[in-house]
């Protein structure tokens, strides 16, 4: 029988549909046999004869379609072999049982009772095993137990996620924490030990580099000859584009990380920072690890005390609710250079207060200690106040602070060691302050901090 490969695959793909017929028929036959255990009934025997015939026929059809399907490659050979033998066994045994019924005919006494009993038991046993192997072929071997509460939690098997929570960019490994989880998410369902499409395995560093049927997977330092990269960067409608079959493609960000990893030598054990990422790559990594989401987005505060809010409103503050849920507050006071806010009122909402804007409020160094308890702040505007670095000693208490605006203040470069040591700080505004640009030791600045000083530092 010579079919063209596309047509044989077309027919073959009916296999997953057809296999459920013998499964259902055999299960039903089992129920009838159990009913007939004690009390024989001629009617049930007739029904069973037909059931076993149908099971044998549908089993045969399943074998045929299964054979055609297996001609498409990518299945793990050992499991496939077992599945094949099991499937044939189910059909043959069903036929044997049917024949014993045929021989029995109208007679009350069973023909070859021991052969029949063995046939029934082994046919059903073979069906269960074959079904399991078939499932393992389609979904991967660990599919069934992956989320089992009894499974070992530190499993590093192919389906177990290797991604760990990254809290600091400096602690992340490029391959292990970024590249591998991307491949896990987008590629490994077809390129694992059990189902190795294109003979390309994407579960270990060596295998990723080695490649498969189409040649070397990754050539360190060479994007152009790295088949892995070529496949994912083709146009989506290209025949060779990966992932195929309408699975979710890699995002631009994920592609960029793979690209960067290959270009820098595709190392296995190197920290992200060892490759000295530029600001843009840093941003991308920060987004990839979700480090930018960890600050405010996930923070939920208890409901504020209404009297505290009233007190703020009555004293010239403006209070805005930042989100519908979460009780996060933004509090503003615009002194317009003449009026001063009563900072002691803010402590009452310290858990809710995440943005505080105190622009142009005539605040002095001594006033600022009142801000030390506001540890939920992630954004603070103190611009255009007559304050210097002497007043900033409260800042280390604000461990969540990401944005600090000090433009138009008297802060000088003497305050920089303190400011750059703030753990979460990402943006620091020091335009029109006393900071002398020439005295900044740029080696002390970490890449994650964006320092806005003057016009010429903005324009590259």
């Amino acid at each position: 029988m010579q079919l063209n490969p596309e047509f044989s695959l077309f027919v073959g793909r009916f296999h997953p549909l057809l296999v459920h017929l013998p499964i259902g028929l055999l299960s039903f036959a089992l129920v009838l046999h159990l009913i007939q255990w004690k009390k024989k009934s001629a009617r049930l025997t007739e029904a069973l004869t037909i059931l076993w015939l149908l099971a044998a026929v549908s089993g045969g059809l399943s074998i045929l379609t299964g054979w055609l399907l297996s001609s498409g490659d990518g299945y793990e050979t050992e499991t496939l072999e077992r599945h094949k033998i099991g499937g044939i066994l189910v059909a043959v045994l069903s036929l044997v049982v049917f024949i014993t019924y045929l021989i029995q005919g109208k007679s009350q006494r069973a023909a070859f009772p021991i052969l029949r009993l063995t046939g029934i038991v082994s046919a059903i046993g073979a069906m269960i095993l074959t079904g399991h192997w078939g499932g393992a072929l389609t979904h991967g071997g660990s599919y069934l137990t992956e989320y089992s509460p009894f499974a070992a939690s530190d499993s590093t098997g192919p389906a177990g996620s290797t991604a760990r929570q990254i809290r600091e960019l400096d602690s992340a490994y490029l391959f292990e924490d970024a590249v591998l989880p991307i491949l896990q998410a987008k590629c490994v369902s077809c390129h694992n030990e059990e189902k190795t499409k294109g003979e390309y395995l994407l579960t270990s560093h060596t295998a990723i580099l080695k490649g498969g049927k189409s040649g070397a997977g990754v050539v360190p330092g060479n994007l152009a000859t790295s088949e892995l990269y070529r496949r994912i960067s083709l146009p989506e409608d290209h025949k060779e584009f990966m992932p195929t079959d309408g699975k979710t493609p890699l995002t631009e960000e994920q592609k960029a990380i793979l690209e960067w990893w290959i270009e820098t030598g595709a190392h296995q054990q190197q920290r992200v920072t060892a490759f000295t990422p530029n600001a843009k790559q840093r941003d991308e990594l920060v987004r990839f690890f979700g480090l930018d989401q960890q600050a405010v987005a996930g923070y939920v505060a208890p409901a504020p005390d209404p009297s505290a809010i009233n007190a703020l409103l009555n004293n010239g503050y403006q209070v805005n609710l930042l989100t519908r849920t979460g009780n996060l507050l933004e509090v503003k006071f615009n002194g317009k250079g003449s009026s001063r806010p009563d900072l002691s009122l803010l402590v009452a909402v310290k858990q809710q207060l995440v943005w505080l804007q105190l622009e142009n409020c005539q605040l002095e160094d001594a006033d600022l200690t009142a801000l030390a308890p506001l540890t939920s702040l992630f954004k603070l505007n103190l611009n255009r106040n007559p304050i210097s670095e002497k007043g900033l000693t409260f800042l280390p208490a604000l461990t969540k602070l990401e944005y600090l605006n000090l433009y138009g203040t008297q802060v000088s470069e003497a305050g920089l060691p303190l400011l750059t040591s703030l753990p979460a700080l990402k943006k620091l505004y020091l335009w029109e302050s006393k900071v002398d640009q020439t005295k900044i030791d740029s080696s002390k600045l970490t890449g994650k901090l964006e320092l806005v000083l003057a016009l010429d530092t903005l324009v590259p």
Binding site: P306, N320, L321, L322, K332, N383, K427, V452, P460
Partner: protein
């Protein structure tokens, strides 16, 4: 005072059975949670009560608090500004009909393929290519997310303007600024939440581009004109200060009385708040439009010292926009300056070189100045700046030296809050005539803008004519790849 009393009309009677003005936005935002009108009042967040009639909190932590929309009226040419096409230079003067299939154009006067009269330079770390029309904006390239794959549904100004501003090509829908204002409210009780800075040219379609549509009247744009009196009647007419106050107090008392007798009424509530706002603006507007507290360096940065009067005009609008952002105005739109001569906005059906050059010169330095000034003050972190026309222009000539309308592809950019700077999104074909990859519709743009303001475009609805309306209608996908 009984002469002011009058019986209720049927319409007013019916109105009493509904809810008051203040709950409208609440209904839109929380409609699904709070089934009935009375439920809105009862179920209002306790916190909200204490925040008075303040803005409605958004659904998630917003990246942007304000939007500055730089409207490039008339349709800026993408192949001459932000989307370089070397093939046009190679095939300059050839017949476009032999190269690709053409749609009908507005004027049908199809000429030859026309190369861009301007060179493109690479800017910033991202190496973004921008034409020499915009040397100043070029220096901000790493702040921009450039979308080269915008598409519009309309090839004609009026419909395209309505579409860009309201999400519908027909007249009468609420403008995007009105939606933002309705959804989030103004943070400043002395200024309206939606301001249009009129540089001299109201776009085709007129003020309906900036209207509230079926939203309550308070959400429409307030127009501030360039010049000595930005708003009509902004100077009090009463020479003695106390008299005006007394008059207003009396009016308010009568209005309140009427309001009470009707048990709440939209129109009267709106009128009262309008009077109050107008009075407050008599002091807040002159303070706003005086630039005396701005340093010389800042004014220079914007180009207020430029020899070109149009640059000075637009620079003043841009500086005003920053001052409005500082004062908590949610949505600010800048229209184009009237550069005079035979250049009608960016709509160069002829004389492309002269018209585009003069328009670009008017806006380039002020816009770059605005971006840099916002950056220095830490405001770019919370302000979204959007630069867009209503459609693009053809890569082939109209006549010999113009370009016709092209809704099938145009470029726009966004910068600031929540935007991934230095990004280029989408691609056009080799002529810049049609989008070939990742098309972005006006609805997508609106959805993305609202998203950055912390509003889910699918949840911001208003019930009108028996239907829940949205700015994005039934469309809109957030352009995630340009978000930081």
């Amino acid at each position: 005072m009984n002469q002011f009393q009058r019986p209720l009309s049927r319409r007013e009677m019916l109105g009493i059975c509904k809810c008051g003005f203040g709950s409208l936005a609440m209904l839109g935002m929380f409609g699904s949670l709070l089934p009935s009108c009375s439920g809105v009042e009862a179920g209002k967040n306790q916190l909200l009560d204490h925040l008075g009639a303040g803005p409605i909190p958004p659904g998630f932590v917003p990246r942007a608090k304000n939007i500055i929309f730089l409207y490039m009226d008339g349709g800026i040419s993408q192949v001459d500004s932000f989307d370089p096409k070397p093939r046009l230079a190679k095939e300059n003067g050839e017949d476009p009909a032999k190269k690709f299939k053409m749609d009908a154009t507005q004027f049908g006067d199809v000429g030859k393929i026309l190369k861009s009269p301007w060179q493109f330079n690479r800017y910033g770390e991202s190496g973004m290519e921008i034409s020499e029309l915009f040397p100043h904006i070029g220096t901000c390239a790493d702040e921009l997310a450039l979308i080269r794959s915008m598409v519009s549904n309309f090839p004609e100004h009026t419909n395209a303007n309505y579409f860009l501003h309201t999400g519908s090509g027909l007249q009468g829908r609420p403008s995007m600024g009105a939606w933002v204002n309705y959804g989030l409210g103004s943070e400043n009780s002395n200024l309206p939440g939606y301001v249009v800075l009129d540089g001299g040219l109201i776009p085709p379609g007129g003020l309906d581009n900036f209207k509230n549509g079926f939203l309550p009247a308070a959400y429409q744009a307030s127009l501030l004109r360039a010049g000595a009196e930005p708003l009509a009647n902004i100077k009090p007419l009463d020479s003695i200060a106390g008299i005006q106050e007394e008059k207003l107090a009396f009016l308010k008392k009568r209005d309140q009385h009427l309001l009470q007798s009707l048990d709440g009424n939209d129109a009267i509530e709106a009128a009262i708040s309008n009077y109050e706002l107008a009075y407050k603006m008599q002091s807040s507007i002159p303070e706003l439009t005086e630039f005396k507290e701005e340093s010389e360096a800042t004014k220079k940065l914007y180009g207020l010292d430029s020899p070109d009067p149009n640059t000075r005009n637009y620079a003043a609008q841009c500086l005003l926009a920053r001052r409005l952002v500082e004062r908590g105005v949610r949505f600010i739109e800048l229209t184009c300056p009237d550069i005079g001569g035979n250049a009608d906005r960016w709509d160069q059906h002829s004389n492309l070189k002269d018209g585009h050059e003069r328009n670009a010169h008017a806006v380039d330095q002020p816009i770059a100045g605005l971006l840099k000034d916002l950056k220095l003050r830490g405001l770019l972190d919370e302000t979204l700046v959007v630069f867009s026309g209503e459609f693009g222009r053809t890569p082939f000539a109209q006549g010999t030296d113009g370009r016709d309308h092209n809704p099938s592809a145009f470029s726009m950019w966004m910068a600031g809050a929540g935007i991934k700077g230095g990004t280029i999104y989408g691609t056009t074909d080799e002529y810049g005539y049609r989008v070939v990859d990742k098309p972005v519709t006006i609805h997508d743009l609106h959805a993305t803008m609202l998203h950055l303001m912390g509003v889910d475009h699918k949840q911001l609805t208003f019930r009108f004519g028996g239907r829940d309306f949205r700015l994005t209608d039934v469309h809109g996908n957030i352009v995630k790849d340009i978000l930081a």
